[in-house]
Amino acid sequence: MTLASTDLQINLIVFLLATFLGLELVRHVSRLLHTPLMALTNAISSVSIVAALIVLSEPKDDTVLALVTIAIALVFTNIVSGFGITERILRLFKPRNKAK
């Protein structure tokens, strides 16, 4: 498990392309929705739970175990509240004929 230079290269390309794609996608998000946008992208970045789970598959000692368990609790809070509150916010937006 070392950071091989080919991996690094591929990952850099992935990162740069994803950044350009993200900039392009977010530029076209309606300004109406900037609050739910932030809630949603924050929820999406909670996929870091995957990293914590992988460490939990072969924890070396109790320090590692403690750090990772706390991290999972934090990030799972974000998953639940992030997608939940995004749904709640998006449900508020109604077109003229539906709003009363």
Binding site: L3, L8, N11, V14, F15, A18, G22, L23, L25, V26, V29, R31, L32, L33, H34, T35, P36, L37, L40, N42, A43, I44, S45, S46, V47, S48, V50, A51, A52, L53, I54, V55, L56, S57, E58, V64, L67, V68, T69, A71, I72, A73, L74, V75, F76, T77, N78, V80, G82, F83, G84, I85, E87, R88, I89, L90, L92, F93, P95, K100
Partner: protein
């Protein structure tokens, strides 16, 4: 075999995340965007659980239960006015989690940790820990636990940057001496201290920009963790989050006519007060105070009305009563719109959410660039809880600290009704020239009460 499957499931998750942002671009498809992102998350987690044998299922269950118990009430109960705080809290949680996993990854790999990995890991931890503390301070300011005023002292930028410098120096030392694990907590401590100093020096009205920057940092630290673990789903998700925060920060600082560095290191509130206390105020100008009845009689003849809300509307919880006034006007055939400045509120898009919650339809919400040309044909512009973003000095007075900032051109309307608690200047500490214009009607009082009285007065007109 499972390893191969999980790689493909990660690809599915990545595609879902990208599609979710695409669908979020329009209100109509936005909810599908949220669902497909949640599905992507489920796929990524499910795939990981399939491919990796979790050693301590008991701890996993404990952590997930704690997360669900804390997260569910946040998702269901947090009022829309408090969404900025909840966003700051989620940045704090997310970046702390990433920093902790990064730390765990360091201890996990000791003593066989190669230099490039440790370098990326150290950067990731510094970013994660500083974002954690910065977001905690942003949360405390937004929640009113600590004063929103910037905490300013001489040489603060030097102290802040020196703190960051120490953290980076410790990181360099750690990379050179990977087994000196005692350095890690000290490095984390200095990163945390830097996050504290950075956000303490930033005032409440700059929060939309700060939250967006912290959003960007949180994403970047997640992406850095992806580099360390050679995990592309994490890299892509972090990059999407990071670029989204970056764009929002750009939009926010542009809407305030400020640069990133100026927001982060300018300490605006206090500086502006010091520099503009004298010259901006001109003696002898008088303000005309009007009553609710005066406003009601003006509105009787109005055909087009634009509401311009600001953070004060959220503070006074006046969004519902604005809708009541608007309903009465609309029932009389008046055309009602809402003009939204990009930095109105405490986070990007905050006003839109509050008005949508009050059942205002989204096609009545007009962003600044679209509404500004229409003010010339507007009979009455009603400013509720906004101040600096309506100050014509931003266009006319090169000596004003606000000069150059894009504003809502409410002064072009035939009549401006400005509801204000008192004559105190706005956040920038600058007097608003709008108050002294002949077409401005100042109405003093709590926004919610004034508007409720207006509902009654309009009702009396029949």
């Amino acid at each position: 075999m499972n390893d191969a499957i999980v790689e493909y499931l990660y690809v599915v998750a990545i595609v879902f995340f990208v599609i979710s942002l695409k669908w979020l671009s329009e209100v109509k498809t936005s909810r599908y965007g949220n669902w497909i992102a949640a599905s992507g998350m489920a796929v990524a987690i499910g795939g990981t659980l399939l491919a990796y044998q979790i050693q301590r299922v008991d701890l996993l269950v404990l952590a997930v239960v704690v997360g669900a118990v804390v997260g569910a009430p946040i998702a269901l109960k947090v009022p829309m006015t408090a969404v900025p705080q909840r966003t700051a809290a989620s940045h704090a949680f997310g970046s702390l989690a990433v920093a902790l996993v990064g730390s765990a990854e360091y201890y996990q790999r000791l003593p066989n940790i190669d230099t490039p990995t440790l370098a990326v890991l150290s950067a990731e931890m510094i970013l994660g820990y500083l974002t954690f503390m910065g977001s905690c301070i942003a949360f405390a300011k937004l929640q009113g636990l600590i004063p929103g005023k910037p905490f300013i002292y001489g040489g603060r930028n030097f102290v802040s940057l020196a703190t960051l410098g120490v953290a980076v120096a410790l990181a360099v030392y750690l990379v050179a001496n990977p087994t000196q694990s005692f350095v890690l907590p000290i490095m984390a401590g200095f990163a945390i201290l830097f996050g504290f100093l950075l956000v303490m020096a930033i005032g409440g009205a700059d929060m939309p920009t700060v939250i967006a920057i912290l959003n960007s940092y949180a994403g970047m630290s997640a992406a850095a963790l992806g580099f360390v673990l050679n995990n592309q789903v994490l890299i892509v998700a972090g990059a999407l989050d990071g670029s989204s925060g970056f764009i929002l920060a750009m939009i926010m600082s542009k809407a305030m006519n400020r640069s990133f560095t100026n927001v982060l290191f300018g300490g605006v509130g206090a500086v502006a007060v010091a520099s503009s206390g004298g010259p901006a105020t001109t003696g002898g100008r008088t303000v005309q105070a009007f009553t609710v009845e005066d406003v009601a009689s003006i509105l009787r003849d109005a055909r087009t009305v634009v509401f311009v809300p600001g953070y004060g509307m959220a503070v006074a919880q006046a969004q519902h009563v604005i809708k009541e006034v608007a309903d009465i006007l609309q029932s009389k055939g008046v055309d009602v719109k809402y003009g939204i400045h990009p930095v109105a509120g405490r986070m990007p898009g905050h006003m839109n959410v509050l008005l949508a919650e009050a059942n205002v339809s989204y096609d009545q919400l007009w962003e600044m660039d679209r509404i500004n040309p229409l003010f010339a044909e507007t009979d009455v512009a009603i400013v509720v809880g906004a101040n600096d973003v309506t100050n014509p000095a931003a266009r006319t007075r090169p000596d004003s600290p606000l000069f150059g900032m894009p504003i809502m051109n409410v002064d072009k309307a035939k009549t401006v009704v400005f509801i204000k608690r008192s004559m105190n200047p706005g956040f920038a500490g600058v007097e608003n020239d709008l108050f002294y214009l002949p077409n401005t009607m100042m109405v003093f009082g709590d926004a919610k009460k004034v508007l409720a009285d207006l509902v009654a007065a309009l009702g009396k007109q029949g």
